[in-house]
Amino acid sequence: MHKLSKLMLAAAAFCLVAAPALADTLKVGVQAPITGSYANEGQGIENGVRLLAEQINAKGGVLGKKIEVIVCDDQGTAMAAAICAKDLVNQGVKMVIGSYTSTCAEAAQKTYFNAGVLQTSDGTADSLTAKGYWTFLRNSFPNSAEAEFAANYMVNVKKYKRIVVLSDFSTYADGLANATEAAIKKLGGNVVSRDKIKADSQNFTPVLTSIKAKNPDVIFFAGYYSDGGQIRSQQVALGIKADFIGGDANDNPDFVKLAGSAAEGAYIINVPSPDVLPYEIAKTFIADYKAKYGMMPASIWGLMNIDGMRAIIHAMEANKSFDTRKAADYLHNLKEPLPGITGPIAFAKDGNRKGGSYVVKRVKADGSYSYEYVK
């Protein structure tokens, strides 16, 4: 016992001596779903942040400080996300990269805002930037941008006459579907029905049968791939001849596995995949990523988050200060877009990322796809 207390004292003394040394780092938080349904996306974000931190530290860090990465697992649930936010703020991070889902980003937003910690997420729900938080910087393009693209494609390019809009009840999917419906109507398109399904309920035949009675040309599904693949498969099984267009969250290899041979000819709208990014900076980063982790980045979303982190660090270096408020002001008023991995980076006053480019992929049953339409 006596020995143990001596050891504890020594440890405490060591911590006191070591603390000032540790304080001399720039703490960067990562809030992401490291476990749970979206684990591969969350791990992709963590891997990317660690790689970028390594590269910056090798060049001497940010304004002479080394970056220290602190990861918190939000499991893709709002409750864990709220706890993560408190935890990361208590640990003294200056910025937080993530999370992957809108739900988790939203649950953590207010805590970061109150603490003046910058947050950059790829969540696409429009509500994220509607609260007037200067701390929030969206590094992806909002649902409304995807909705306009999807509506234009359906009404003006494909000339569909009878459109069905379908979604689940999540923040992301419901928002995307409502925005798409509004955009279709603005272009003079005809939405014959707007239906909702319960995520994970597996049996979509009743709702699809009632959709069949409306004789649609196309079913636009905003929701996640785990439902999208089954909806596509059951649509074909019911003999509904309409095209299927899925929103960005359908872009996952499991979509094709679930739909099986019915996947052939389905369309999925998304931002361009990492492997076709035309920028030099993207090519080198993806090559470095492959060299370090032995695989491609999980998806474009992880790279979007990396761009968010790069933008914040660029702002701090340009200001020669770690002040988060100044960094946010700098990013809200960029004269020239910064070069990014996923394209030029510029932010609107509300923290939305400016621009937005989307593609329509035509899926084949073997999981490969071809680009149908790029804008």
Binding site: I197, A213, S261
Partner: protein, 298 residues
């Protein structure tokens, strides 16, 4: 009209899965007066077991004999797990108050569900296309091969079970045990063996139901058992718990009811209406549609 017929086909398909699972509930209750809440998770586990047998044992063969072998092997595996479940979770509590057995059943449900998660992981696993996607179009009503297989095979299994219970000596022993276990024991029936048999039959029928879910929907998750278990439980109560034809009828009715509510009223409210139906049935006919009136023995 064709929309109505299509919903009918949808409802019968999902209804026959409910019915297969409901049989497991109803048989166990009939003999032991116990709701086996772990049954739904057994059904989920069978889908994962079947998938593993397909990849590891069958070497991903998709021929007809291979598919039949997958069904048989999964049923055998689940029957073994069913016997173990009864030995570990229920037999020690045979004489205990009923609440203890119910709590034990809920515990078993959690153990199986988390066991699936630990072995196969929390992510959705996806079944291969073991049944070719063939469809027949009857003037707007589309029936697929898998739907026909599910419906026919379920009916065959249910009729076989009914005949087994009604026409054979063992069936008579099962019926005797469900009326009065002590009297059955005095007549020389080994009740422990009968209960083990009930678990074997219930688990293997549940295994077939689980494989149907995997083949029909393709995506399986570790926590899907609760959802199917709950539906099948409601189906068993609607038909009259403890009554074998009642479970079949209840499953079919629930499937149809669900399809028509989701198709004509709202898919969002389908679950709520299902439980409203349950409450109405319990108020109007507490013993279920085919359940007999149990006279109180004085």
């Amino acid at each position: 009209m064709d929309i109505f017929l299509q919903q009918l086909a949808n409802g019968l398909t999902i209804g026959s899965m409910f019915a297969l699972v409901a049989l497991g509930y109803t048989m166990v209750y009939g003999v032991m007066r116990l709701i086996n809440f772990a049954h739904g998770d057994m059904v989920a586990a069978s889908a994962f077991v079947g998938l593993t047998i397909y990849t590891q044992v069958m070497g991903q063969a998709t021929s007809l004999p291979a598919v039949i072998a997958i069904f048989l092997l999964s049923a055998v595996c689940m029957a073994c797990i069913g016997i173990i479940l009864e030995r570990v979770a229920y037999r020690p509590l045979r004489e205990a108050p009923r609440l203890s057995a119910v709590v034990s059943a809920l515990g078993a449900s959690l153990v199986i569900q988390n066991g699936i998660m630990l072995i196969w992981g929390p992510r959705m696993r996806i079944f291969p296309e073991l049944v070719p996607q063939v469809y027949w179009d009857f003037g707007g009503v589309v029936i697929s091969l898998i739907q026909v297989i599910i419906l026919v095979l379920s009916l065959v299994l249910m009729v076989a079970l009914y005949l087994f219970v009604e026409k054979t000596r063992i069936g008579a022993a099962i019926r005797a045990s469900s009326i009065d276990q002590d009297a059955a024991r005095l007549m020389g029936i080994n009740v422990n063996r009968i209960i083990a048999l009930i678990f074997i039959i219930g688990s293997s029928l549940g295994a077939v139901g689980g494989l149907f879910i995997g083949l029909y929907y393709r995506g399986i998750t570790f926590n899907m058992g609760w959802q199917y278990g709950l539906y099948a439980f409601v189906a068993a109560i609607i038909g009259g718990i403890g009554n074998i034809p009642g479970a079949m009828l209840g499953g079919m009715l629930l499937g149809l009811f669900n399809a028509f509510i989701a198709g004509y009223v709202s898919s969002t409210w389908a679950d709520a209406f299902t439980f409203i139906l349950l409450i109405v049935i319990l108020i109007v006919r507490p013993t279920g549609i085919l359940g007999e009136r149990v006279a109180e023995k004085v």
